[in-house]
Symmetry: none
Subunit: 403 residues, 2 copies
């Protein structure tokens, strides 16, 4: 159904209308503190968010589907109006985006682990003793010298034993099986294809593995590599094509910058502080129809499991809200990509508060921005993928469907 | 969309996590009494349900889709996480399950009515004067002796003029048209196929009808049979395969036991009283990840059209709630399969209250378990088919989707 709906939205996009800002506090949704019954967001002092809530239509969104906990990739794809089940982003691709690698359509990206193997080739340490990142940089630089027939090869460090490989050229395919056996005492699995279109990629990866084995054989710890999440960057229609908007992203973290780039947003200079956000937003506002602003700390503090740190991060976000609001966009939507309750110290499936401020918003009685208050909002509970059409509608960017 | 979403849930099921109890009060939803404005559930004294509601995330579920009144089969399929439109259970199959017949995959089950025909073979009474059940038993025993080539035949009594036929063997198919013309003055319709795969089944049923005609021709009332709902038991992936749970059912009524068995639950000893429920639940709790407990009286009293009797049944259910709660499952979800307002004396489409108690539940302000109070719950209004993913999520049994 969402595919049809997605096509429907695309078909009525007019290419003209107001300016939209989508402000995302990563992982902002939470769970109540056992003593107070208030979530992190409800505990934080957020005068700017609350003032905005009073002028907005409020509600909640379900990131993917009830009970489904999203990774950051699918959660953002949904916020950008893309059915996250249809447009899957493979692990290798996300890993490459996470280091800011300039991935292009058709590239195949692979997450690689350095590992230790014994004389018979059996894995004795799947993480090569967690070699220092500097060592990883040295080894990836060495492997980056490998030449493969008719394709470009990029080998890049991530952190400790983790690295990324990207193949670029014609006729490549993803979806090959992992070579990481997820166990020690056994050798890495051979490259295995699941359909004929993967044959060329399999040959190239086998050639790479043979040369890498030679180049690493004298290493005391990192004398082998395993591969996971072999994924092609598939064709994704851009927000420009689909929604007829010129879109830009303001984000500090590579992965979010990467996902925004995947859907065709212009990825602008990195921003971290409220000052930087305001300045960059003002600079970009004239040129773009849609600007995505990403705030990370609400998620990372939640993942750390610290209720108080997440409260503090939420208060910091409230200042970003004030700065974004000062630009007075025609449509301002504030939400998270998913919940990250500090009680769980991980992403979760719980619905996420959302507010949308626009001249055509049905302002409701919600007076504070929080999980409970937003239950009474005029937006109700919607799927994340439905927010983009709502933003476009409030901006006057969607024509009538049918006569 | 639900198909994709269902596959999504299956794809992230981990096979480990907490214990889940699904407690269903059949038909528990209702309509307000004209004098008090309170439904049966809101009228009943239910201290245990209300206490549970205060510690839970509450809401409502739509059994199938807005406006659609479900039979018990699809309503339970949805609660078990199966798209009830995709996994249809034919009338013959449900009738066989309803008498506790041990139906197997590939069996074809048919609901049969004894009828009276005149000398020209025209139906004069579609129900054979509602022969006594004892007579039905005698006649089905007679017809059960019929032998058909290469398949097993089972003819079983249901009640009065109603019976069930089951064919078991290779190459059978359902979906043939009813022979009951739903009218008198005309003969039963001939067996009619709608595709070639039904030919063998049609031949067998014609052979059965010829022999049955001989065996019944001297009967004064029940001298013919008509067939309805000719249905094969189709392959249904089990909850074990799909959700990676070991599941059991505690229910007293054959049909619910049957539907639970269809999705691969172990169907344990029959339970009726609160004592029996608690004892059986404690015995099963260690061995199973998921236990479905069914309570029938809230539905049957509603179908009888008695507001007061349904209130009393609801209060009886409240005691079952206390006993189930005493086991303290990691995830406890209490709801109905559909509404059965006593004012309508039948199943209805109205949304059904639901509560879920779990460490990760977003506890809301709902302080009583009822149709109106649950409107303010943090669960919102969801589809019944979404409840299984939510239970699995709260039990920590679903991995993150995407990276």
């Amino acid at each position: 159904m969402h595919n049809n709906m997605a096509n429907l939205v695309d078909s009525v996009a007019t290419g003209s209308g107001g300016k939209i800002v989508l402000l995302v506090a990563d992982g902002v949704g939470g769970l109540p503190h056992p003593e107070t019954g208030l979530t992190e967001l409800e505990t934080a002092r957020t005068p700017n968010l609350d003032a905005l809530a009073r002028e907005s239509s409020c509600g909640l969104h379900v990131p993917i589907a009830p009970g489904i906990t999203p990774g950051s990739g699918p959660a953002h794809m949904a916020l950008f109006g893309y059915d996250p089940v249809r447009y899957k982003i493979g692990r290798g691709v996300l890993e490459a985006l996470g280091i800011g690698f300039d991935l292009r359509q058709g590239d195949v990206a692979i997450r690689v682990n350095f590992a230790t193997v014994d004389e018979e080739g059996r894995i004795t340490d799947r993480r090569a003793g967690r070699i220092p990142t500097e060592k990883c940089e040295e080894l990836t630089a060495r492997l980056d010298q490998i030449e493969l027939p008719k394709v470009e090869l990029f080998v890049r460090p991530v952190k400790e034993h983790r690295a990324v490989i990207v193949l670029r050229g014609a006729g490549l395919a993803g979806g090959l099986k992992d070579t990481d056996p997820q166990a020690t005492g056994v050798p890495p699995l051979p490259i295995e294809i699941t359909d004929g279109a993967q044959e060329k990629t399999a040959d190239l990866l086998n050639a790479f593995l043979a040369e890498a084995g030679e180049l690493l054989k004298e290493e005391p710890a990192a004398n082998a590599v395993t591969m996971r999440g072999i994924a092609a960057l598939e064709e994704i229609p851009s927000v420009g094509e689909r929604f007829r908007i010129r879109a830009a992203a303001l984000a500090g973290y590579p992965m979010y910058r990467g996902v925004a780039g995947l859907v065709g947003m212009d990825v602008l200079a990195k921003v971290e502080t409220a000052d930087e956000v305001e300045e960059a937003l003002r600079a970009a506002y004239r040129e773009y129809d849609f600007i995505f602003v990403h705030f990370k700390k609400t998620d990372s503090t939640g993942e750390d499991g610290s209720f108080d740190a997440k409260v503090a991060a939420t208060e910091e976000f409230d200042e970003v809200v004030a700065r974004v609001r000062s630009v007075d966009p025609d449509v301002l939507l504030v939400t998270g990509d998913h919940s990250t309750p500090s009680a769980m110290a991980m992403h979760s499936w719980h619905p996420v508060p959302v507010l949308v401020r626009a001249a055509s918003a049905r302002v409701d009685e919600v007076a504070t921005f929080g999980e409970s208050a937003c239950l009474r909002g005029s937006l109700g509970t919607v799927r994340a993928v439905d927010l983009m059409p709502l933003m476009l509608a409030h901006a006057g960017r969607l024509a009538k469907f049918g006569a």
